[in-house]
């Protein structure tokens, strides 16, 4: 029997459960030269807002032990150009396209979401309520239960597409946010966005990032991400896309065992733009080596004895 790693998340059927995380694969063009998009489960594109934005002034990134800080600040070409100029390119690939959206007001979120109704080639929306780098786009919503509720409710009311809410790890109790999203009709959750961090240049005494603080990603945060995925999976029934520091197929397996139905590869794309393909191959090999036929045979199977 052929090993089957196809899956269905939030009503979106995927060839495999390995996705490209938002903000780490652009709108697909540059990464497609190194990574065959026909082979990944889905591409989650860089955040899209109503109007074009330029992002933060430099310096936008800095390396930290086993991680990196970014304060890109959500540059985007705006929903109209995205649909006109980028979706046609993405449609050429036999993969799923999930559009990450953000807004400065709750109405914005609803408005951007509604623009994708009926747009061919877009399979779902990932709602970013957790970007730590811009005052408007996200974290203020993602760290407040009531604001989260309103964003999800509004987006839910504005779109017929599956919606995936991207949660912030910068909260005391991520499970409560997950439950609110589930109550308001979210189809799935992405866990986690970046942890808020900071670094200071001891030569210049300035923050290393133009934005002072930034989002920490990469292997450094993997233990925190995995813990949160596990907590969220124990709290809700809707599927969870796990992310945070996944570099190898072994890392991905940890997230599946913790309960994730899919995973997204972020920072690893920067080190190796074909990382997701290697993870897919490694995942197949992992299952085959254990005589397992289906990815569902490992999902949520972590052996905990309370």
């Amino acid at each position: 029997m052929k090993t089957d790693i196809s899956t269905n998340i939030a009503g979106i059927s995927l060839r495999n459960p390995v996705m490209l995380a938002s903000g780490t694969a652009g709108y697909g063009e540059d990464i497609s030269k190194y990574c065959d998009l026909n082979r990944v489960g889905a591409i989650i594109v860089k955040g899209i807002a109503l109007k074009p934005t330029n992002g933060n002034p430099p310096v936008r990134i800095c390396e930290t032990p086993s991680g990196m800080l970014n304060a890109i600040g959500l540059p985007n070409i705006g929903v109209d150009s995205f649909i006109k100029d980028k979706v046609p390119f993405l449609r050429k690939f036999d993969t799923r396209v999930i559009v990450n959206i953000f807004g400065s007001t709750i109405e914005d979120y609803g408005e951007v979401a509604s623009r994708f109704n009926g747009v061919e080639g877009v399979d779902g929306l990932e709602v970013n309520i957790s970007c730590p780098n811009v005052k408007e786009g996200g974290i203020a919503f993602g760290t407040d239960l009531e604001a989260t509720r309103l964003v999800v409710r509004t987006v839910r009311g504005s779109t017929t597409l599956p919606i995936i809410i991207k949660l912030s790890p910068n909260v005391t109790d991520i499970a409560s946010f997950a439950r609110v999203c589930e109550e308001e009709g979210a189809d799935a959750l992405s866990v986690i966005n970046t942890l808020l961090g900071m670094s200071i240049d001891t030569e210049t005494w300035r923050p290393r990032l133009g934005n002072i603080t930034g989002g920490l990603s990469g292997p450094a945060i993997r233990p925190v991400a995995l813990r949160m995925v596990w907590q969220v999976c124990n709290a809700v029934k809707i599927p969870v896309i796990g992310m945070g520091g996944i570099v190898t197929s072994n890392d991905a397996v940890e997230f599946f065992l913790a309960g994730a139905s899919g995973v997204a590869v972020g920072t690893a794309n920067f080190i190796n733009p074909a990382a997701s393909l290697e993870i897919i191959t490694g995942l197949m090999a992992y299952l085959e080596a254990r005589g397992l036929n289906n990815i569902t045979e490992i999902i949520g199977k972590v052996r905990v004895a309370f």
Partner: protein, 280 residues
Amino acid sequence: MKARVFSNSCLQGTYYKLIFLPPVRVNIIPGQFVMIRVCAADSLSDPLLSRPFSIHRQALDGSIEIIYKVVGKGTDLLSHLRKGDYIEFLGPLGNGFPLMSIPPPSSPYKGGARGGESLFSDEVIIVAGGIGVAPMLSLIEAIRASGADNNIKVFLGGRGKEDLLCVDELKKIANEVVLTTNDGSAGIKGYVTDALHTCLLNGHGQQTRTTVYSCGPTPMLKKILELTEHASINTYVSLESVMACGIGLCMGCVVKKKDNSGYFLVCRNGPVFDGKDIEV
């Protein structure tokens, strides 16, 4: 892509040269760069990111040479590589120096590719600061190989004598090489941009059409752009920036557009820019 280290040796002081052989032959334009991951083993994640290095030159067998200065943990690790070790690399990346601007004197082609204006040059000035000399040797070779017999003048600056690299090679191939050091240990004492300034005051770039190619620390590039702002000099600068990916994914490596309409990505739109387009 994995590539095998062919040799790695100290040039002088903290400067090293690494030669590696990519598994497949790649075509290179002077000014392009590679990303090299310098982790001690694949499974390790510190340092996490690859590091960008200009391609110094490509040998006939397709092997690629970079020269680098040890400044931090990545370059420190790099300096410990030995023949037979493997590196992860990606490249060539980015846009190199525009060579179309220097047609051979016999060529009927006088129109430039950039913005439609003529980019024909009578004279080429190269300004390099420290390790910024890395891409310049192959640039000059490419100019020479194109059949152009322009006058090529090189300004090479460093803090001290030990920061001046490739001096003999440059002398062989350029018409003139001006050396400067901040401490006066070699060449003219002072900044390389002071020497450039003197040269420009002496009429260069006034009557003749001049192209300046430069690579080095950002303050040096800034100064060069100020000095060469007038019309008959085309100035190309190769920028440095913190890079996570080198291939347009992270949007981290930005430089401001001159027209205030946003940012360029240094890795995708550069690292070589026309000085008129950017605000450094």
